[in-house]
């Protein structure tokens, strides 16, 4: 039964009783209970989008059952969920074959496919491609309030990009996009005093740490952070490591 006081709902996964909170995505709830569901476009930090179609499950509500992606399906009282039914696996395998053709250069896709015993795709591959257009970079960029990235085009030519496929004036090179990218197609390279994100045509100077002299973050990024936190930029003059040491020294921490 549903707990009347808080927003807890109960549902069944392959017969096992599970709990979730109202508004929670089925995928999160499943993972919290230790169930394995593959996904590439889902990240707890941002809203679900439902692009990769790998998180398919079978849900039964009342008498009707259907296949649905679990990342954008809200948990509900009384659901009955089946995970790897024959049908789910059959479609997931074809989706993996499609992904393997869409981004053969993405190791994450190859690894996941291998787990389903797929080494080759019957479809026409796009050699070299490593992006699956999952949109995580766009969603995180929006979540951090920068909004430098977006989708352009539609249909087969839809792709994540900066406006006009050029350096974006909004991008501060924070690198959050690279952190969430499931295929590693967004690469951040710090070298020779510059941060480069080739995919977004970005090259910005790094601020050098006042203490150790290592380039640690783009100047524009620090300026933006300082502005948001209403801090003097001087407070951000040390790299995180040296800042930690300085702090420890001041308070005589070991």
């Amino acid at each position: 039964m549903a707990d009347e006081k808080c927003n807890v709902v109960e549902f069944k996964v392959q017969g096992q009783i599970c709990q979730g909170t109202l508004g929670e995505s089925l995928l999160s709830a499943l993972r919290r209970h230790g169930f394995e569901v593959p996904s590439l476009c889902f990240h707890e930090a941002v809203s679900s989008y439902g692009a990769c179609r790998l998180c398919l499950v079978e849900v039964k509500k009342g008498r009707r059952s259907k296949l649905t992606t679990s990342c954008n399906y809200p948990v509900q009282e009384g659901l009955e969920v089946q995970l790897d039914t024959d049908e789910v696996v059959r479609h997931r395998r074809i989706v993996l074959q499609l992904l393997l053709a869409a981004a053969p250069a993405a190791k994450a896709v190859r690894d996941l496919a291998a787990r389903y015993g797929i080494e080759e795709t019957p479809f026409v591959p796009r050699p070299e491609e490593d992006c699956i257009q999952c949109g995580l970079c766009i969603r995180i960029c929006e979540a951090v309030g920068v909004n430098a990235l977006g989708f352009a085009g539609r249909g087969v030519s839809k792709h994540a990009t900066t406006p006009y496929e050029e350096t974006s004036a909004a991008c501060v090179g924070c690198g959050a996009c690279a952190d969430v990218c499931p295929t590693g197609c967004v690469k951040v390279v710090d070298a020779d005093g510059f941060r480069t994100i080739e995919r977004w045509h970005l090259k910005v100077p790094l601020t050098l740490c006042k203490t150790c002299g290592r380039g640690f973050a783009p100047e524009v990024h620090l300026t933006r952070m300082a502005g948001q936190a209403k801090l003097e930029i001087a407070h951000l003059a040390n790299c995180p490591k040296c800042r930690g040491r300085a702090f420890a020294a001041e308070f005589r921490l070991p």
Partner: protein, 151 residues
């Protein structure tokens, strides 16, 4: 486009981000395409990210991010026109003017565009040349119509 003109378009839509599509349509209505500066202006004016404006401008097929020609020939590629040979009209323009769909001649004289149905399906195949509808076209008639274009 003058900034004042742009401003008045933005104002006519109350600077509302929900009217982004209509705002861009009005700009294209004036300019015949969407110049880069105007997209930046819209982003600033509506206080929405340029990435969203660019996404919108590239999602909808009615927008052009390149200048269009003095004359625009739009060939219908809807199903009814397709089964009556619309593809051959497109090939005719490709052959005679060296431009494919979405392209403009180097002298900016003619742009070829395609569209999926304009609601005159019984008259297919059909082309719209500078706003005038021409139904039941053969490649020869189309050729004549395009030759007659002035300037």
């Amino acid at each position: 486009m003058e900034n004042a003109e742009l401003e008045s378009i933005l104002a006519s839509h109350g600077h509302r981000p929900s009217e982004l599509l209509a705002t861009l349509q009005d700009i294209q209505g004036n300019e015949n395409w969407l110049p880069r500066e105007s997209l930046a202006h819209v982003a600033a004016g509506l206080n929405v990210p340029l990435s969203r404006v660019y996404g919108m401008a590239t999602f909808f097929s009615s927008f052009s991010l390149k200048p269009r020609g003095k004359h625009v020939c739009t060939i219908c590629m809807g199903t009814a026109c397709h089964v009556r040979g619309a593809q051959r009209l497109v090939e005719h323009v490709e052959r005679e003017h060296g431009i494919g769909p979405g392209e403009t001649t180097a002298d900016l004289r003619l742009t070829l565009e395609t569209v999926n149905c304009v609601g005159a399906c019984a008259m297919g195949p059909l082309a719209i040349i500078d706003g005038e509808y021409h139904g039941q076209l053969s490649t020869q008639t189309l050729g004549r119509l395009l030759k007659k274009l002035k300037g």
